[in-house]
Amino acid sequence: MITEKTFRNDGYAKVTGRAAYADDISFAGTLHMVPVYSDLIAANNVVVDASEAMKVPGCIRVLTAKDVPGTTCFGQIEQDYPMLITDTIRSWGDVVALVIAETRTIALEASELVVVHGDPVKPVLTIEDALKPYARVVPSYGDSNIVVHHRMRHGDPEAMFDQCELIIEEDFETQIIEQGYMEPEAAICVPRHDGVIEIYGSMQHPFSTRRFTGALLGEPLSNIEVYTIAVGGGFGGKDDTAAIVCARAALGARLLSRPVKMTYSREWSMRESYKRHPYKLHYKVGVTSEGQILAVKTQMYADSGAYLSVTPWVTWRSTAQCFGPYSIEHVHADVYGVATNNVFTGAMRGFGSPQVNFATEQLIDMIAQRLNVHPLGIRRINMVKQGSSTVTGQVLDQHTVSMEEVMNSTVHEIGYRKKYDRCSHGVSETDELYGIGLSISYRGASLGAEGMDFCSAIINGQYDGSILLETGIHENGQGSESVMMIVLAEELGIQLKRIRYRRSSTSTIPDSGTTVATRGTIMGSSSVVIAAKNFKELLATHLAERLKCTPEEVTFHNDKIWGLTFAQSLTWEEAMKELFLQRVTPYAFGTFKAPDVSWDDTVGQGNAYFTYVYSCQAAEVSVNKKTGKIKLLNVVASHDIGKAINRAMVLGQIYGGVTQGIGMALSEEIKREDGKITTLNFDTYKIPRITDLPEMTGIIVENSDPQSLTGAKGIGEPALELIAPAIANAVYNATGIRCTSLPLSIDPQELK
């Protein structure tokens, strides 16, 4: 809509090295905190002996759970995560003590001397073991390792399977993925003279951070002020885990009345932070001879690890979106979260849908192949259209259902039809086999029925015509502040340079929920629109007389405020001064409440999300016959995001999301041995490098969304959730081999 040039309010700071991330910030007298782990995976009666560590000169204090004035265990849903171990170790990522010293070097040296004793118990390390009768119950709450079970009961698939021409049953498996933000977790906390603890942290949710810290300190939320600073990526991974790092540093700062910094090494970050849930999925799909999907039955199991975190919400999305963007009348789904003694799993960009799409978008191609129907045809017959009902019984009539338009856009751009006919299917005269594959998805934008969904914005006009803006959406690097500024500039008809995005603090802007779930743009920018409306009304009321018109006749454009004629106008400098002279504060507040959603958990039915983003991605690959190596040749990604506010940043989200999906497809995997993670840095945990990627094409489809006040939806997660099955389909079309587990790998022996 608004700007063609790339705009980033933090661009200058970031290209000059001025942007200060948590570890770049220092205060006089800062102490350094490091975590202490134990090599135990699961143990009871844990005792920490820090006596030798305390003898190291410069070691100030070793904190254990006994030093916690508040609640040691906390969590977003279940309060089960021990910010410090009390007496039970449940995973290799558990922190048993915190060493505080004058320098980081001393803290590291002292931490080596902390001794941990405990009675080891046999860890439960697989979903299968966790589900065995009489398996040891891992969680501290409840009496089962099944920590959540979502059901969907839509129609009667069992009765329909008999009427199906084709039935396909298949198992799929996805791996554990690390978010892989480039900046490891870090926090610096400062005790202020008025009793407030200030937190500067590498976290993506200041309000979560405040809750975790409040719990650990046993203090009210108003005692804790969390500031927004530059964050080196999050991708879902800097919610609980990063909040906990901040809370621990805050504990040190509170107890010692000095600033405390805690900076994670990559190895600690990989060891302790939660990952993407690995899934095991079973599908049974029944199809008519024309290719219409009549019935689906699925069971999914997600490894939640030792703590719950947001497993119930991740698996809820897998339930609500359990079979792609298809309208199917008979669907039963059972989705389980299972506790084990593995390092826990939680939020990561995609949040329960990449795993499902990996299965379903391959199943669609499998159906096409078995029925000898074109894969595009199968998708077209079954996909949601305007007014269609989803598998949750939601009728899609409140926005433009553009699934077909989006698919056509990708198909056309990449030349899918012609290239599909050229696929090698395991036969080629050279060493390279060629294949193209495609996948489609829809994604419920924002939280949906997962939680309360609203966001606030504040506009604070200044005496000299400059304007401060803040919202409850957090800048994690995605460019949210720039989007909010662009929207405000458009609403007020002013130049961007008038606006400064105020560094938010939890003490100045109301809790507006987490910046997750592709909700930043849709929720944040809508709240800016409401605040801007209130702001303009206030200004019009008080400036109308001066502009010789009624308040309704006042307009805002061309960086001025206007009456009815060209002769009647005020610059913003004049207008703001006029308000000041009238003793009126040019200040406005706005809250956007997400449109209503509904959910019946007993049958998994309801209006799950108030709108959806439609996506189609395609990939071309070559597979080497001798080595089995899969090389990506081309990627095209189309997304209907409603409206692009900052076009280059939208494309950046698409390319970046696709690349994370490519990592999931081809190279990334957290490996474990006996519950210990062995891939602790980027030498063994392989995120895509620049040379692993082809040139990509991102296509922005814009059907303005009436549910969003700017027409914009979002793009963070849709970009990631569907490239893995597109690549898997391409690999199949190249080799004739169907890969049902991730990361994809082809054994060259099978190609001979």
């Binding site: 900046e183 991708f235 690097g477 620049i690 040379t691």
Partner: protein, 182 residues
């Protein structure tokens, strides 16, 4: 032998003790050059990349001792003395190559060395030169765009590719040839 290293065109005396530090920690903790980022401390992510005598090096992998007698350029040295930014920095903004920004300094430093040696690199050559720099946000596409754009800025505006701290600009002379700050 005198323990002098030159950082962003300024000579710095290094104590014997500090010679043993990694260049990364020396630059961050002793020189407060926080634009040099620590992403992995294992030489695999490239966030700590600096220019050492016109070569891109990972500052977490070398000791300060190795830099004695040499010129180190960090992201902070890319700006011109008059406060204008280097064409590469401007291009990273204009091309949308910045998201979280944590990899950006290292990316720019690796790109800088590339442009010093190759004023008109192909996309393939850019990818090869940035192979050692990881980015999790951008998918790299707009980073490749940015390096090409910077090469265009330098060529079209007749600029020196040299880091700003190495280029003298007369004070108070507005330099229209240097791309404007946003």
């Amino acid at each position: 032998m005198s323990n002098i290293i030159t950082v962003n065109n300024r000579p710095i005396q290094v104590s014997d003790e500090d010679k043993e530090m990694t260049l990364l920690h020396f630059l961050r903790e002793r020189q407060f050059l926080h634009g040099v980022k620590n992403g992995c401390e294992k030489g695999v992510c490239g966030s700590c990349t600096v220019a050492l005598d016109d070569k891109a090096v990972r500052s977490c992998k070398i000791k300060v001792e190795k830099a004695i007698g040499k010129q180190v350029i960090t992201i902070e040295g890319m700006e011109y003395p008059n406060g204008k930014i280097h064409p590469l920095q401007q291009a990273f903004i204009d091309a949308g190559a910045v998201q979280c920004g944590f990899c950006t300094p290292g990316m720019i430093m690796s790109s800088y060395i590339l442009l010093l040696h190759n004023s008109k690199p192909s996309r393939e050559e850019i990818r090869k030169a940035l192979r050692g720099n990881l980015c999790r946000c951008t998918g790299y596409q707009q980073i490749v765009d940015a390096v090409q754009l910077a090469a265009t800025y330098i060529e079209e505006q007749g600029l020196s590719p040299k880091a700003g701290c190495l280029v003298s600009i007369k004070p108070k002379t507005p330099c229209s040839k240097v791309a404007n700050i946003l």
